[in-house]
């Protein structure tokens, strides 16, 4: 999978002279690239993810996905991209609060090849929350929800995994466990990785760092 960002700039930053490796630049992220996008709050991290997923259009410049202008991708084609090629851990997690952890996983449009719904429970066990399997998500702490959101993203097939501050409410031990799970899945899918974080230090190795 291939992303190209050409002179991308959010409307709100148009009148500011931004020093960034992404805004108003031409950059490419492709195949199995592993990228850490590091930025302080308010510099457009989440906006960047939303632009990339085609969920917001308040920017100038052009985004290409697999050499096709994002603005020219039809709804049905984008559905296929979201279904098969991109998996995301959103900053606000986007879980279904009334449903159980199991039901949240069941609502994935597709489970990764070689995986079954029970594998999600094994992953939850690795992250010490397998007892929450049948519990409604609304009864979990934010840290627990974050782990559920990560597992849900890993259970999908993907060519690129995008995580927006996925460990913000996790302790060091859980962060390490999650990192190992993510790395394992990235290897299995031979996928690219975009991690958005506030800190430059992270538990992943060999990440290309981009500044917002």
């Amino acid at each position: 999978m291939h992303f190209k960002f050409q002179q991308l700039c959010p409307h709100v930053f148009q009148h500011q002279k931004l020093k960034s490796t992404i805004w108003n630049q031409v950059i490419e992220i492709k195949d199995d690239d592993k990228v850490l996008i590091h930025a302080i709050s308010g510099t457009g991290k989440t906006s960047f993810i939303y632009y990339l997923l085609g969920l917001r259009k308040d920017y100038t410049g052009t985004i290409f996905i697999d050499h096709k202008k994002l603005s020219e991708i039809e709804v049905e084609e984008f559905t296929q991209i979201r279904k098969h090629k991109i998996s995301t851990v959103f900053q606000d997690l986007q879980l279904f609060e009334n449903l159980s952890v199991r039901e949240n996983i069941l609502l994935l449009p597709e489970i990764a090849q070689g995986y079954q719904i029970e594998d999600a429970k094994i992953m939850l066990d690795v992250l010490d929350i397998s007892d929450k399997w049948e519990q409604p998500v609304k009864t979990l702490s934010f840290g627990q929800k974050q782990r559920v959101a990560i597992i849900r993203a890993l259970m999908k097939p993907f060519e690129f995994l995008i995580c927006d501050e996925p460990f913000s409410h996790l302790d060091e031990q859980n962060t390490l466990k999650c990192t190992k799970l993510i790395e394992k899945r990235l290897k299995e899918e031979n996928a690219g990785f975009i991690l958005l974080a506030l800190q430059e230090e992270c538990t992943f190795e060999k990440l290309k760092i981009l500044e917002l």
Partner: protein, 393 residues
């Protein structure tokens, strides 16, 4: 799972009210449309006298008693009527000159015997197929056409005896015998009803049979021609009516009464149908509003599912299936309630002398399909509009 996500945690009060409204609306719509159709087609296929044909007789006055007025038609009078421009044909109605006793021996009704009159008109005046109206000596059954008055009288008698009344279909299957001839050597002829008429008060039999029976058992000098069957030319029925008026001839008014009855009931049922249709559409509108409400409440869920990679059409199908299954259940329940209601109303009509065709009206199915299509289209369009608005947000 998606159904649970969208609908499990919703308040169903509004949905329940809308469904009750739809149920009642559909029930009244089915009932009124069915009877509207049946009332309008009442008598159209069962009347055996062909179009523009009436039976006439001289107005009854006290004249004959004083020897001033003769109720019989002479050959000159018949020829005079035939010579009128607006008359296509005119023939005497022949009557029996022998005794006829009708007996019904059928498990459907108590044993029944009555002296009756039979008459015959030329086959050209009847809307009956030749192979249903033939009789030769030795035939197994004699086809007869029953006056509606007779059926009504029989139903009144059954009603008074607390016995279920007879519809047209049932009467057609009755085992009827005509016992003809003098009391001491009567011959039994098995008869079968092939249709009904409002124009005559006596039972119609094929001409050949009447001639045969009159010759065999009748007294020639007894035969009088007091009724004529007259067929007017197309579009000139009014002229014939004027002529009858001027010459103090009269015809039976039952057709006129039925026309008035059909028209009054028709207007009433049309109003009920219109109100029911309005009720159905208002209920559908409330259901669509409920759909909009559900979609607004599920805005987050819809958006998240789309972001996960679910296709918009897949989500549209979930809403469409949910509302269509509810609507189907309500439509089937309305239909189930309609069946006993139809039976009950049918009995009411029969007890008032109107025996309607008991089959389900085709309009019932047409309106059901139409309402179903309109509802499915409305749900599909409003869901599609809303979900496609949420895609890419």
């Amino acid at each position: 799972m998606m159904r649970q996500l969208f609908f499990k945690y919703q308040n169903r009060m509004q949905l329940g009210l809308a469904l009750v409204g739809t149920f009642l609306g559909l029930f009244f719509l089915f009932t009124s449309l069915h009877f509207l159709h049946k009332i309008y087609s009442y008598g159209e296929n069962s009347e055996m006298l062909s179009k523009n044909t009436i039976v006439i007789q001289k107005k009854v006055t006290s004249g004959p008693l004083l020897g001033l007025n003769n109720p019989e038609y002479s050959n000159e009078q018949i020829n005079e009527i035939r010579s009128m421009d607006f008359v296509e044909s005119c023939d005497p109605i022949r009557s029996n000159t022998f005794d006829v006793v009708l007996s019904i021996d059928d498990p459907l009704i108590p044993a029944f015997n009555s002296n009756i009159y039979v008459q015959s008109v030329h086959k050209d005046y009847l809307d009956v197929k030749t192979d249903h109206w033939g009789w030769v000596e030795g035939s197994k059954t004699l086809p007869i056409i029953m006056p509606r008055d007779f059926l009504m009288m029989m139903n009144n008698f059954l009603s008074a005896s607390n016995i279920p009344q007879l519809s047209d279909d049932l009467v057609l299957d009755l085992k009827i015998d005509l016992n003809i001839g003098p009391r001491n050597y009567r011959e039994t002829i098995h008869a079968r009803i092939v249709g009904f008429t409002n124009e005559l008060s006596s039972i119609l039999v094929p001409e050949y049979f009447l001639n045969w029976a009159n010759q065999k058992y009748g007294e020639k000098e007894k035969e009088v021609i007091s009724q004529l069957v007259v067929k007017s030319k197309d579009g000139q029925f009014g002229l014939l009516e004027n002529y009858l008026e001027e010459n103090e001839f009269e015809s039976k008014k039952s057709q006129l009464l039925i026309a008035k009855l059909k028209s009054t009931l028709g207007v009433l049922l049309t109003i009920i149908s219109a109100i029911s249709l309005l009720a159905v559409f208002l209920s559908m509108l409330v259901l669509i509003q409920y759909l909009q409400l559900i979609m607004t409440k599920n805005d987050y869920e819809i958006r998240t599912l789309l972001r996960l990679g679910h296709a918009p059409n897949q989500l549209i199908k979930v809403f469409l299936r949910y509302f269509m299954s509810l609507f189907s259940v309500v439509a089937v329940l309305s239909l189930l309630l309609f069946i006993p209601a139809k039976y009950y109303l049918q009995q009411v009509f029969i007890s008032n002398g109107i025996s309607l065709d008991s089959s389900l009206s085709i309009y019932l199915f047409l309106v059901m399909i139409l309402v179903f299509i309109v509802f499915a289209l409305s749900i599909w369009l409003s869901t599609k509009k809303r979900i496609y608005k949420t895609v890419n947000t």
